[in-house]
Amino acid sequence: MSNDIILLGHGSGGKLSHQLLDELIIPTLSRVAQRDQNDSAVLEGIESNRLAFTTDSYVVDPIFFSGGNIGDLAINGTINDLAMSGACPLAISVGLILEEGLLLDDLRRILESMRQAAEAAGVVIVTGDTKVVPRGKGDKVFINTSGIGVFDHGLRIGGSGARPGDKVLINGTIGDHGMAVLASREGLELESDIATDSVALNGMVSDLLNQFGEAIHVLRDPTRGGVATTLKEIALQSGVDICLQEKELPVKEAVAGACAILGLDPMFVANEGKLLVFVDPHRADDVLAAMRRRPEGERAALIGEVEATSTGRVMMRTAIGGLRAIEMLTGEQLPRIC
């Protein structure tokens, strides 16, 4: 390609479009040979009478931020949505909406991280679509990913499975992603160890379900709205009360400091590589140990439990011993973080 930017012609369906697909997008993202490229991907050999199916769109601003970019975010996000239902991610589609004038080098970097993220998670990108919109009608690049997952077990994992007595676990520090994006977007000179936590969680989920099966009652990734919003959703969906211990919540010093300066609460800041696990209390210690054995769970912690009452409330015992309620995020704490 002679040009270094995306032109409207790259979305025309004509020669430029073919060049973009054949020279950049398909070779980077997909293992599908040219002779097998048709209007649909055909997935074969699926031995599962249940499928998980999900979709998500990514419009994060900026497209590159500390520790990642919109590309790996779009892959990991959809993989995680599948994993949270207990499914093994199988195949992913990628829809790209590119703004005229986008640097091809930027697109290349994004596609490259998508490929790496998919490979790391053992998932294939099987189909996709590319459109170009005139300059000013989009914002560099928007990505939609959809994913299909299969089940190799009969467990029903959902937000309604929390039971009184369950322990609540999380696989690491909270608020990293939201603060990393905010810092990159606003050019805030925060401490350097704030980076996105974006990572695929299907490996950890698979480990936990294989080892502990029915002891795992709920899996949920606390993305937009943060841990607070996700726990409140689970409390309402399961009709239970949840009590958290503030002192057990893992928060990086730099994230806590940045939140304090900006008047944000890390409980409401987005994560992209975290999962909340509600587990039978008798297996909680073993589950925690298993989580900590994986790199994405090194700082896993037991942060609370489900109480005997059932009013859909989430409460937090604060570090100094006070009690406060946790509600869902209302409005936007940070715009366009995923």
Binding site: V251, G263, D265, M315, M316, I320, L323, R324
Partner: protein
Amino acid sequence: MKYSSEYRDPQLAAAMVTAIAAEVADYAGTMVLMEVCGTHTMSIYQHGIRSLLPEQIRLVSGPGCPVCVTPIRYVDRAVAYARQPESIIATFGDMIRVPGSSSSLLREKAMGAAVQIVYSPLDAVKLAENNPGKQVIFLGIGFETTAPTIAGSILEAARCGVDNYAVFCSHKTMPAPMAVLTADPYLQVAGYLCPAHVSAVIGAEAYRPLVEEYQVPCVVTGFEPLDMLRGIQLLAQQVVDGRAEVENEYQRIVKPEGNLRALEILRQVFEPCDADWRGIGPIAGSGLRIREEFAAFDAERRFHVAVEEPREQKGCLCGEILKGKVTPKDCPLFRRGCTPENPVGACMVSSEGTCAAEYKYGC
């Protein structure tokens, strides 16, 4: 920054809670302690401080949230500025969601107005430099905490010859409203937790006239939970002993004389004026306006726009809430017609607003 651990130590907190309870054990009646600082409001809710205190102590939030005390006609005028095609409105984030009489900056932004959130007024000056064909109007609200940086932005614009930058000024000052609230017989404020950041600028001694005239105890208090508990403990001791003094719990930041450099910049650019406080009304000498010599940077002097007649929303108790007379739960709109997604009054908008804090954290 170790504040998150050192000033949140559970053992120390428990000891202070016990000491506070012992202090007021024989106190008959209710001791009303008021904070006049949005960050204190947040801290009280965020750390569940009310749940730790004995029943004799009632913490009440006063007019400490800058967005909340800004009158509706200010919002209406900002909306009118935003509708001018050559305007770019630059503002701290909370302000854009405050409902005016018939619109808000958020709504105007969605309709195509240029409304830009900035983290520092100096960013607004840069915005003006980068948009020479536009008029950048910064919404100058807040107390002595933000006023010096906004004064600094005017000095910077003057120094660099940026003539398309102006401030729409509605600054308020402490402790003028505290005198009004202390004089209100309905409230019976027994003591004040004085704001941390404001006091860092104006100094702990700024409260002495108030203490001497009204014999009301004042304790300058930091934001961390142990600061808050210590401030409450000192206030309770004063009330029980029948003393009225200025005490400074937040000595690591607040000096008796304040920040002289910040005060100098503030006085260079602004002069005192009467100001209208939402919910309280006009208070003499409680505001700041831009001095004549910087009139070129005063949006109100420079831009003449038609502004609609202000209309307060019916049923909204923001005014009474700001005075600490009622709590959010007493308002018929709270959680019903008025939520953070769809706020009726300013107290529900700002994260420092009493209603927003009660909505988010209240038990």
